[in-house]
């Protein structure tokens, strides 16, 4: 593996280029994906390389063009369509969850809808209530959509290539704070299977589960806690549909203690679901209450002091871990 280091954005861009080169059915659609190269630069240079038949700038008609991407994917293209911020899902959710997600099932399993919907998530930029949400729990709630949430440039590239090749509808969530993060990424094409969690750090005292940007906060917390003699295992599920329950349960059975970190809102969110699985299927192994560090049930505030207060971070994780290792 080459030791080349690139950013998360570059890794995504490379995945798109490679797949567009490989398969003429892959097209890219969305607001400002062409001339602009994507508002965060993910599709930079693609219009120039692949032309305007395959890189399509769209009007602000998410229902129309995401619906079109789904329709095109149902008849054989492999569109990668961008929903600029996940916060905008409300104008186009029907196409995503009543059409893309359900078509195969409703139609008796005879067809494939392979659309990939890319979108950005996350707070930390003072982008306020309508540009800072995470919301993958809503997409995961709906049967029929795969949900992919990378945390590193390496994972981003491999998972996006897998996504484009996967024959099912899926949403690919990119955390805004990760775009500039650098990491080693091979030049060549590679895939990462869905439903395989990555143990980002091994440990024996407590299991911490985290996604996207929160993986980095969890690793920071683990470093901190190591100094106190607490050995933290950090698990990054990478995809939540499918979800690698086995790796999580195995870890919890080993440590007996768990903290789930999730930037999504607490109520009916991903953290709850993982907690519920553990409380059911690893109950006998638990030595402490199952803790969740999540975003409380308030809209994301604008002011930095307020936003900092509500988002999960390393400090909060450290505190929660201390609690569960002390408890009982």
């Amino acid at each position: 593996m080459s030791e080349r280091v690139i950013t998360f954005v570059e890794a995504l861009n490379e995945a798109l280029s490679l797949e567009m080169e490989r398969d003429p059915n892959v097209i890219v659609m969305g607001e400002d994906v062409g001339v602009y190269g994507g508002i965060f630069g993910v599709s930079k240079g693609l219009l120039e390389r692949f032309g305007s038949d395959r890189v399509i700038d769209t009007p602000i008609s998410e229902g129309g063009f995401i619906g079109a991407a789904i329709g095109a994917s149902a008849v054989g293209l492999r569109p990668v369509v961008e929903l600029m911020f996940v916060d905008f899902f409300g104008v186009t959710m029907d196409q995503i969850y009543n059409q893309a997600a359900k078509m195969r099932y409703m139609f008796g399993g005879k067809i494939k809808v392979c659309v990939t919907i890319r979108t950005t998530i996350g707070g930390g930029l003072s982008a306020a209530a309508q540009h800072s949400q995470v919301l993958y729990s809503i997409f995961a709630h709906v049967p029929g959509l795969k949900a992919i949430i990378p945390s590193t440039p390496y994972d981003a590239k491999g998972l996006l290539i897998s996504a484009i090749r996967d024959d099912n509808p899926k949403v690919f969530f990119e955390h805004k704070l990760l775009y500039g993060v650098k990491g080693p990424v091979p030049k060549e094409s590679y895939t990462i299977p869905f439903g395989v969690a990555d143990v980002k750090r091994e440990g024996s005292d407590v299991t911490v589960i985290a996604l996207a940007y929160m993986v980095h906060e969890a690793l920071k917390a683990a470093e901190e806690l190591a100094k106190e003699g607490v050995s933290v295992e950090v698990i990054d599920p990478r995809t939540i549909v499918p979800f690698d329950k086995e790796t999580v349960l195995k870890s919890v059975k080993k440590t007996g203690r768990v903290v789930i970190v999730d930037e999504d809102y607490d109520r009916c969110g991903f953290a709850s679901w993982v907690a519920a699985i553990i409380a059911d299927e690893a109950f006998e192994y638990l030595d402490a209450p199952v803790k969740r560090i999540t975003t409380p049930n308030v809209p994301i505030p604008f002011s930095p002091t307020l936003e900092r207060e509500i988002l999960p971070n390393a400090q909060k994780i450290v505190k929660a871990v201390r609690q569960v290792v002390r408890k009982i």
Binding site: N25, I27, D53, R54, I56, T58, P59, S61, G63, G64, F65, I66, G67, A68, A69, I70, G71, A72, S73, A74, V75, G76, L77, P79, V91, T92, D94, Q95, N98, Q99, M103, R104, Y105, M106, F107, G108, G109, K110, I111, K112, P143, G144, K146, D167, N168, G195, V241, P242
Partner: protein
């Protein structure tokens, strides 16, 4: 008539219209008899629209449909037995019993699905047209949708993107006067509110789409208008909209008390029944005799009856089948 339609084509169109009618009348009875679960929306009265448009399609073309989709399915050539079994919820149904009346699809023959969400098929058809333009120029997509759907945001978005991308698509509005109880345009004593102030053709023109209002009870008028629109699309000249004025004979869904319209109104429309009009015309044109046409109707009735008998006897799906077909891989 400014166009010449071959005799075989005319006979085929008539055959499909009576087959749709037979299917819908029978479904009406079956629902009343408690044989069909779920919601059923019937197409009787609107046959001229589906048949007039779809008779212009060729292999490789696509359509999307609505909650009132049986007519489109039959006109596209969906298997009647599979459709009836689907309405019963049997495992031999065209969607293995998973979809039901509102979700019949058969991609192999270009039928991209009925839809339970008003308007939702329209962007999907735009997507199909986008794919065709890129990979199969000369083929077209047709989106069927109701007058009610015309006011759904994603439909209007679709009209706009189809225009700016110059896609090979024909938007076919089936203005059957009502969206459930809501009048599309002209108010009545029973339902004084209307859903739009301008004709749908005018609205389409405002987007830059070629549009025409068509007598949706006259199958040849629809055929002709659709032919022009589809040929434009095949030539790469972009989208058109057909605003077809028609009427549904049964309730919005089976079981609808229909408080919003009068018996007289229904009778008035039934006087221009699309099948009767076409039949009289075929006889007048010397294309077929009354007797020949009646034989076609009987054939249709028989075909439907066979589908019913089969569906009655077919098995229900095994409970375990509930968990398959979510993804292409076994995870759900």
């Amino acid at each position: 008539m400014s166009i010449l339609v071959p005799r075989d084509k005319l006979i085929e169109m008539y055959s499909i219209m009576v087959l749709i009618r037979a299917f819908e009348d029978r479904a009406h009875e079956l629902f009343a008899a408690g044989k069909l679960p779920g919601f059923v929306h019937l197409y009787a009265g609107e046959e001229a629209v589906a048949v007039g448009v779809i008779s212009n399609l060729v292999k490789g073309d696509y359509i999307t449909s609505t909650h009132r989709g049986h007519g489109h399915c039959i006109a596209m050539g969906c298997d009647i037995k599979g459709m009836m079994a689907e309405l019963y919820g049997k495992r031999t149904g065209i969607c293995k019993g998973k979809g039901g009346s509102m979700h019949i699809a058969d991609f192999e023959i270009g039928m991209l699905g009925a839809n339970g969400i008003v308007g939702a098929g329209v962007p999907l058809a735009v997507g199909a047209a986008l794919a065709l333009k890129y990979r199969s120029p000369g083929n077209v997509a047709v989106a069927f949708f109701g007058d009610g759907a015309m006011n759904q945001g994603c439909v209007m978005e679709a009209l706009n993107v189809a225009t700016i991308w110059k896609l090979p698509i024909v938007f076919t509005v089936e203005d059957n006067q009502y969206a459930i109880s809501m009048r599309s345009m002209a108010p009545t004593k029973l339902q004084p509110r209307v859903a739009t102030a301008r004709s749908f053709a005018e609205r389409a023109v405002g987007f830059g789409i070629t549009a025409v209002t068509v007598d949706g009870m006259d199958v040849l008028a629809v055929y002709e208008a659709a032919k022009a629109a589809i040929e434009r699309a095949r030539r790469g000249e972009g989208p058109s909209l057909l605003d077809c004025k028609t009427y549904r004979y049964y309730g919005h869904f089976e079981g609808d008390p229909m408080v919003y319209r009068s018996r007289e109104e229904i009778e008035e429309w039934r006087k221009r029944d699309p099948i009767r009009l076409f039949k009289e015309r075929l006889i007048r044109m010397g294309v077929a005799t009354e007797h020949e046409l009646e034989a076609l109707r009987e054939k249709a009735l028989k075909e439907v009856e066979e589908a019913v008998s089969r569906a009655e006897e077919d098995p229900y799906p095994e409970p375990s089948e509930a968990y398959t077909d979510v993804f292409t891989d076994p995870y759900y």
